[in-house]
Amino acid sequence: MDPGFFVVQFLNGLATASFLFMASAGLTIVFGVTRIVNFAHGSFYMLGAYLAYTLAGIFMDAAYGAMSFWGAIFLAAVIVGLLGILLELVVLRRIYDAPELFQLLATFAVVLIVQDLVRMTWGGEDLLGPRAPGLKSFVLVAGRRFPEYELAMIFAGPLVLGALWLLFHRTRFGVLVRAATLDREMVGALGVNQALLFTGVLFLGAFLAGLAGALQLPREPANPYMDVNIIVEAFVVTVIGGMGSVTGAFLAALLIGELQAFGILVFPKITLVLAFLVMAVVLIVRPYGLLGRPQAESHGAARAGAGLAAGTPLQRGFWLALLALLLVLPLFADEYSLKLMIELLIFGLFAFSLNFIMGWGGIVSFGHAAYFGLGAYGAALLVHHFAWPMEGALLAAPLVAGTAALVFGALCVRLSGVYLAMLTLAFAQIVYAVAFQWVEFTGGDNGLIGIWPASWAASRTVYYYLTLAVSLAGIGLLWRFLYAPFGYSSRAVRDSAIRADAIGIDPRYQRWLAFTVSGIAAGLGGGLYVFSKGNIDPEVLAIPTSVDALTMVLIGGVETVTGPLAGAALLTLLKDFVMPLTLYWKMVMGVLILGMVLAFPKGLVGILADRLPALQARPAERERPA
């Protein structure tokens, strides 16, 4: 092959790397200081692009020449930086000491809100920005054309790196940022105004994101999906580089950029997966990334988690009544309500399985959609390609998901806290990418259709009873496990891994088993789901599915047994009633999540338990004395 081609490909890789670095630098800096993984970083990036579009339009109309273009980009970045300050003041400031789950969900809620705000303001169409004045042409590289703008951008990344180096080594603010990244306590001890430092860091982080988004505008149109796309890539870069390390992010961006440039030649089919595979491999070899440092014990460790109370007669009565109601429901419910109930039961199982490891095992999975979706896809593929009957496919669903959980879990449980959450997310994205790109087998984007129940279960009523029986069996088993030694062992590891290890429990092994059990249960839910819908597409594996499950747990109450069920019911019903009424469902979701995190972190069932002591057999938990 022609060597010129490789040179151009290499330059493409450098340009990509440059952008990836600029988009990730702010994320890693913010994480380093605040220990918050800020999903909204993607929103800042997107806002940078949109604002630059609007500002460039205004300035160029006013005909200020080349300066108007660059001025628009700079101004957009500054405005986004100010929005970063707003985020810090309104949201982040309240959750620095909250568990990871709350932080991840709160910043994701901001993503949802911004998505709808952007759609309100700029519409849903792609907006093509102006080309950069003076950089509209091509240069010849080894006999091939290479865009001038791309060439310029190759230098932008290192320029930003250099500027950050100066900032971190030559200014008081930068030195404080570095100190805080190494040791937060120390900065507190130095008497630094921590609030001001954090606000400043958010400005810096958001400014960098906005800058990256604005600079991106001449390459690709601004669109409402760019936030999630970039945040996923930025996570990969940040995690590979080591969270908190700017230099690490630069190296990781180079690695990923070149890998994408050349990977597409070697493995055109798995470009999406490639980055996540690299990330998984890096985390397996170096659990804290290339230049990262181990985190101190996660926030959750110092808090006393919830305990388990024996059921009271009142509670038992309540569940029996509910069961009776569910059993007679088809007598008076219409088709549509039954369909809704089926969904509710399935998501109840899914959310319950998530909280089995999260609330009761301290394992925050941000990619639980993988196991739900693998159950669904496993069943659908067996039906579609191998003509399996529904019964067999339903049995296989939990096995497929369980096998994946066994493999992924083995790698995930080596980590803890945010790193674990990121690795679970990475695995979910790998599965998503495979489902999306392996068109011949999975149907790609369109998915698979015609996955209907067996003829005996074809009526809505029968399928309702089937779902009721299977999901209640799944929930019932998990519930029982929580009260059995198995659940106690998981909780022991969550409460104090060092004590657990000193009385014979292998913490990692226990976490692994719990993770697998949870994956099996989620897969069972996925199997039920696909037959209730009749079709499947990669959306079921995407981040929103994981977030739905997390939200259900959050709404119901993390540190409760039944919370996930209440949360699943509430969110499913809410979606059903509210979604048709508004164009801006995401905004509703975002506000709901944010409201729960900030105002009711214990969730509905948690609040109920506090208000109605009669429901509880034992006194409520207090903080452990220091």
Binding site: R480, P485, A492, I505, R624
Partner: protein, 251 residues
């Protein structure tokens, strides 16, 4: 009979040598104390014996069997129970459940899926709590206990699998003097009645001299003196380190 033999144990963190070539033996039925100023390397020794830390070199022999570098759970299985300087218990479980958890492991049923955990080995657990004097706290959550009581929970938990050796890193830290003596009397009685050995560390010299059969003194990671209390008390170097005063335990 030599129950525990530690040979040339060594550990450094980065370039800092926390424990340097420490060796000693511990006889069955013996109460051996390790003393030394803050940062001397006492906890690091405990952690290398208990499996929480892997020594750089050196060996730990339990009853002649090499247990060096085994993970904590394996050391536990060999018959070693321990308590931590910063008490570690399961805050979301009751006192009884903490002990039951250890018993479930002892009986190999910690991963059973169906029995109700709160009913397993309850009588045994209550008996152990009775023995350490906190039977009346059995139904309280550990997260709500006074610190001194958590230390007793730890002791009950450490005794659950009938250990041959107890490791107790500052068992009485955070207690009032009277309570300290009560706890150490209890430990001594248990050691005697079960014929087990205990290795403990303490900052309260009254406690050390009252309850140790033999004392090891380490300073800056090095063993500097060893012997019965009278001999250690008379040691010049030891006196120099402690400046003739008792060292206050850290907060």
């Amino acid at each position: 009979m030599t129950l525990l033999r530690v040979e040339r144990l060594h550990k450094s963190f980065g370039g800092f040598e926390a424990v340097r070539d420490v060796g000693f033996t511990l006889e069955a039925g013996e109460r051996l104390a390790i003393i030394g100023p803050n940062g001397a390397g006492k906890s690091t020794c405990f952690n290398m014996i208990g499996g929480q830390l892997r020594p750089d070199h050196g060996r730990v022999l339990l009853d002649g069997e090499d247990i060096t570098g085994l993970p904590p759970r394996a050391v536990w299985r060999k018959g070693v129970g321990r308590t931590f300087q910063i008490a570690a218990a399961f805050g979301s479980m009751t006192v009884a459940e903490n002990v039951q958890m250890a018993l479930m492991n002892h009986h190999g049923r910690a991963r059973a899926l169906f029995p109700l955990a709160r009913e397993l080995y309850r009588e045994e657990a209550l008996a152990l709590l009775e023995r350490v004097g906190i039977r009346d706290q059995a139904e309280r959550f550990c997260s709500m206990l006074a610190y001194g009581d958590i230390k007793r929970v730890e002791l009950a938990v450490a005794l659950a699998h009938d250990p041959r050796l107890l490791l107790m890193d500052e068992p009485t830290a955070g207690m009032a003097p009277a309570e300290r003596h009560a706890l150490m009397r209890l430990v001594s009685a248990i050691v005697a009645e079960r014929g087990i050995a205990v290795l403990f560390t303490e900052h309260d010299m009254d406690v050390v001299f009252a309850y140790a059969d033999r004392i090891l003194v380490i300073n800056r990671g090095r063993l500097i003196a060893e012997g019965p209390p009278e001999k250690v008390r008379a040691d010049r170097e030891v006196q120099a380190i402690y400046l003739g005063s008792t060292v206050e335990s850290p907060a």
